[in-house]
């Protein structure tokens, strides 16, 4: 208290002291009460919101002058996201409050809380059905802002005041200095400062109104606390409802709230990072935040769903479109409004902006799934290891993933202990389902993996009822071995021979990306003495292409490397294009790593025949005509050039106009493919269903 008084300019002290202390006391009490409220939040939400609303308008008026500075500062979307991240549960909120108090003394806490409360109140305003009441309340208070606008001088004074207090180090590094200063300014200032500011306005306006303002403050605090649990969209909503007259103030308030919440969140994030067991980039902290926030939001949305009036949303959106008075911050708030208006209960993975047409492809980040795994789950360690390998993209490539999966399944079968009175098939099926669910959550399966699993499941169900455990295990493991041997090894050999017959002497063969099968074909052709030259085309993102190049060179294949941008230049001199595939679809389209379609188009443009080498176990009976309807989203940060320090994509998360999209696969239509080389025969692409039918009859799948 005393500290804050000193920091604040002397000019305001005298007149305000008396009122200040009482106000302070009241506010302190309110705060404690509010803290208690939080523990039994749900019951009290409505009650609190009512209070909040009453106070909100007056409070907005008060807050404007203080946060004048905020208008000038550009707050990173990062910050705002942080602040808008309200990931913590009730208990943690209390911890946070305690932390706040422990951090910087009671005054700061109170100020913080008040500010946050104000922010929260704004956040919550629009949300409830009681917004109607809100409006009623609002109308009475509408005069306030006008009066405050009149009092320009007050604003100036408060800003001066703000400049003076010393900076108090805050845990959150990323918050812009200026806003942090403003918030810090608030914190060292005791209630006195705030009260004084309020009082300044009040004195100018009305004694009655001052009381209202005080009430408003209290309500604002409560609201802020409430709002901490709710996503920012509420603030947007609130702002929207009030927007007509309050846009500026709301913005300011929300700014303050955001800053405060950001601090809180950062503190919690640090804690989370400390206990985080995956060791990747710091983004994981944001992920955990996002995760928690998602949980909370899901809860809250469920609560709010019924109450939230549709019409509230529309005016909210309409009002948020008003750009006139709004500054950067409002833009960011608007951004979140529009998103929430879509009512997506999916978590924003890492808070990144989602592309319009790919919203259905975004899933929780693989690493989050890893974390969600229960500690006492009885997944086999080999399965968990595979999950980590898949998530971190250590194991890539259709064949590799298939073999890795079968390997893990083999180990699982080997170590499976049959519980008493359980049939082997049933028991193992249950564990299989759990393992598979985990793996697919970590990374969506490739067609080869789904087919392998189908095969395994088929043989599992084929086991006789009273089979001996040892026999069953042995048989399953044998089946797995046979699958790998026949479908992958021997098929690869057959395809290699077939393609070798197609390679004429002194052929120039172009291949795109990385494929274990293509590598095998080229190496074996070289070993068999066929004279040819290979060109490997890759992109900056694909480590695989360069790795394959290395391996080909080691085996003595004459090859060179080019970037994808050189495709058309090279294609003139090429005789054949040979690519691998992730899977072959039932309509004859080829699902392959992104960029293959590019190579196919270039080949067609230059009349170069395109051969796709694909074992029959990769044939899927799904149909896809384009790469939008079903795809996999990779890590967007891979698109950023690591060697370029001033990459314009570096801070893409903070830029609301920029999103990065990293699609993993693309679909090549059958019209561009000359032939598909399988172990059965060299076929036209359109014969894919024939092969599927054939496989069905042979393998009984």
């Amino acid at each position: 208290m005393g500290l804050s008084k000193e920091n604040i300019g002397a000019d305001q002290e005298s007149s305000c002291t008396q009122v200040t202390t009482t106000i302070k006391r009241r506010i302190r009490r309110k705060k404690l009460r509010a803290a208690k409220f939080l523990t039994s939040v749900k019951v009290n939400i409505d009650h609190n919101t009512i209070n909040v609303r009453e106070y909100s308008y007056s409070n907005t008026a008060n807050i404007v002058p203080k946060t004048q500075k905020d208008f000038d500062t550009k707050i990173n979307s990062d910050e705002i996201k942080k602040t808008l991240d309200v990931p913590l549960k009730n208990t943690s909120l209390e911890d946070r409050i305690e932390k706040m108090s422990s951090k910087q003394g009671s005054e700061k806490t109170r100020d913080d809380v008040m500010a946050t409360r104000e922010a929260k109140k704004l956040l919550k305003q629009k949300a409830k059905a009681k917004n109607i009441e809100n409006k009623d309340n609002g109308s009475t208070n509408i005069q306030l802002p006008t009066t405050i606008r009149d009092s320009e001088t007050k604003k100036n004074i408060s800003t001066n005041v703000i400049k003076n207090p010393p900076k108090i180090p805050v845990a959150c590094d990323k918050i812009n200095s200026t806003p942090s200063i403003t918030t810090k300014a608030e914190s060292p200032k005791s209630k006195d400062e705030v009260d004084r500011a309020i009082q300044n306005d009040n004195i100018d306006i009305n004694a009655d109104k001052s009381k209202e303002l005080i009430k408003a403050e209290r309500a604002a605090k409560k609201a802020a606390k409430q709002a901490k649990k709710k996503p920012i969209q509420e603030s947007g909503d609130k702002n929207a409802v009030v927007a007509q007259d309050f846009t500026v103030k709301d913005v300011v308030n929300t700014l303050k709230d955001i800053v405060n919440i950001a601090k809180d969140v950062q503190a919690v994030t640090d804690k989370v990072i400390a206990i985080d067991f995956t060791t990747k980039k710091g983004e994981e902290s944001t992920k955990s935040k996002a995760e928690l926030r998602a949980e909370r939001r899901a809860k809250q949305e469920a609560q709010r769903a019924s109450k939230q009036a549709a019409q509230q949303q529309i005016p909210a959106e309409v009002k948020t479109e008003q750009p006139s008075k709004q500054v950067d911050k409002p833009k960011e708030v608007k951004h979140f409004y529009s998103k929430t208006a879509v009512e997506k209960s999916k978590p924003k993975s890492q808070g990144m902006q989602k592309m319009n047409w790919f919203q259905h492809l975004y899933t929780e980040h693989d690493k989050e799934s890893l974390k969600q795994m229960a500690i006492n789950s009885n997944l086999h360690p080999a399965v968990i290891k595979l999950g980590v390998q898949l998530a971190s993209r250590v194991v890539t490539g259709s064949n590799a993933r298939c073999i890795a999966l079968l390997d893990a399944l083999k180990k699982m079968v080997r170590d499976y202990s049959l519980p008493a009175r359980t049939e082997f098939a049933r028991g193992l099926e249950a564990q299989l389902a759990a393992s598979v669910e985990f793996l697919w959550a970590v990374r969506p399966p490739a067609a080869s993996q789904t087919n392998a699993l189908k095969y395994f499941r088929y043989h599992l169900t084929q086991l006789p009822n009273n089979v001996d455990e040892f026999d069953a295990k042995k048989r399953l493991q044998e089946e797995i071995d046979r699958y790998i041997r026949e479908q992958i090894d021997m098929a690869g050999e057959a395809i290699s021979i077939a393609v070798r017959n197609k390679i004429s002497t002194n052929d120039n063969i172009l291949t795109y990306g990385c494929s274990s099968l293509i590598e095998r074909i080229l190496c074996e052709a070289q070993a068999a003495g066929v004279v040819f030259r290979a060109v490997v085309v890759g992109t900056r993102l694909q480590r695989g292409a360069r790795e394959m190049l290395r391996r080909l060179l080691a085996r003595g294949v004459r090859c060179s490397y080019a970037d994808i941008s050189a495709l058309n230049y090279l294609m003139r001199d090429m005789n054949k294009v040979l690519v691998g595939a992730a899977s072959l679809l039932a309509n004859g389209a080829v699902l392959a790593p992104a960029g293959t379609l590019q190579a196919a188009l270039a080949a067609r443009a230059h009349n170069v025949p395109l051969l796709v080498a694909c074992e029959t176990h990769k044939f899927a009976d799904t149909v896809q005509t384009d790469a939008f309807v079903h795809n996999e989203i990779g890590d967007p940060d891979d698109l950023i050039d690591k060697n370029d320090e001033n990459s314009p994509l570096k801070d893409w998360r903070t830029n609301p106009n920029l999103s990065l999209l990293n699609l993993m696969y693309d679909v090549t239509p059958p019209s561009l493919v000359t032939a598909v080389v399988t172990e059965l025969a060299i076929l036209p692409c359109t014969s894919a269903p024939v092969v599927l039918r054939f496989k069905l009859s042979e393998y009984g799948l």
Binding site: A675, P684, V690
Partner: protein, 302 residues
Amino acid sequence: MKKEEVQDIFLKILREEEDVSAGVAAIKTLLTVIENYKVATVRELDLNLQLAVDAMRHCDQPVTAISSGCQLFMRFITFAKLDVKSFEECEQIMLQRGRIFLDTLLEARGKVAKQALPFISDGCKILTHSRSRVVLQAMLEAAKANKRFQVFVTMSCPDNSGVRMHKELEAAGIEATLILDSAVGYIMEQMDIVMLGAEGVTESGGIINKIGTYCLAMSALELKKPVYVLTESFKFSRIYPLNQRDVPNEFKYLSSVLSSGDLSKQHPLVDYTPPAYITLLFTDLGILTPSAVSDELIKLYL
């Protein structure tokens, strides 16, 4: 069994029987081989047949049909249940199946011709290339059914077999016109349909036919004229050319030319028409689209 003997039989059949295609003659030869040259085991029989096919390949006759026909023949006769006690019985079974195969084959042409009948409408103009017995039969059938149509035949160098086709059509009372190979582009806009025969049908659904077919099919596609290929099913082959160069040399050149060594100055006899240029294939298995050829082939072979 000697190579020359087989060749003699083969050439004799070609000489004596009228209007027999090389493929049919080859299969008749194989049947004769089974009948005349007695062997003790299935394996020996198989070897004999392989030798016979090889011999026929070096006869300076178009190899495409011979190769595909013989392969299918051998597959067909060995597809029977051969787990009988004695080899003689085995042989008899194979012989029987061989005869069935041949009979089916001989009827094939008639079937194809009948299928093509509804596609020849009154007053239509048909463009055809070189001499194909199947197309000829189809047109004769149509004439018998009192359809009025005009046929334009290319001369098809170097052997001018189109001239012979023209003569045969005129003799049957069909209005026929002989045009230069190079006049195909000029005349295409006046045509209604294009009818072609085939020496071989590839796994991709494309055809191998007399040189000049590719050009004709390309201009037909450009001018939106349907291209119908009339062929028997024994011409289905398992080769899959990726482009013109990828067609096996033994199809493109006569065996005598092949053995001479230098092919760079030689002119190929056949070319490959990719499936994109073909609308429909009329076969004794039915009317197929090019993509269905692979399906049929898999059924035949796997």
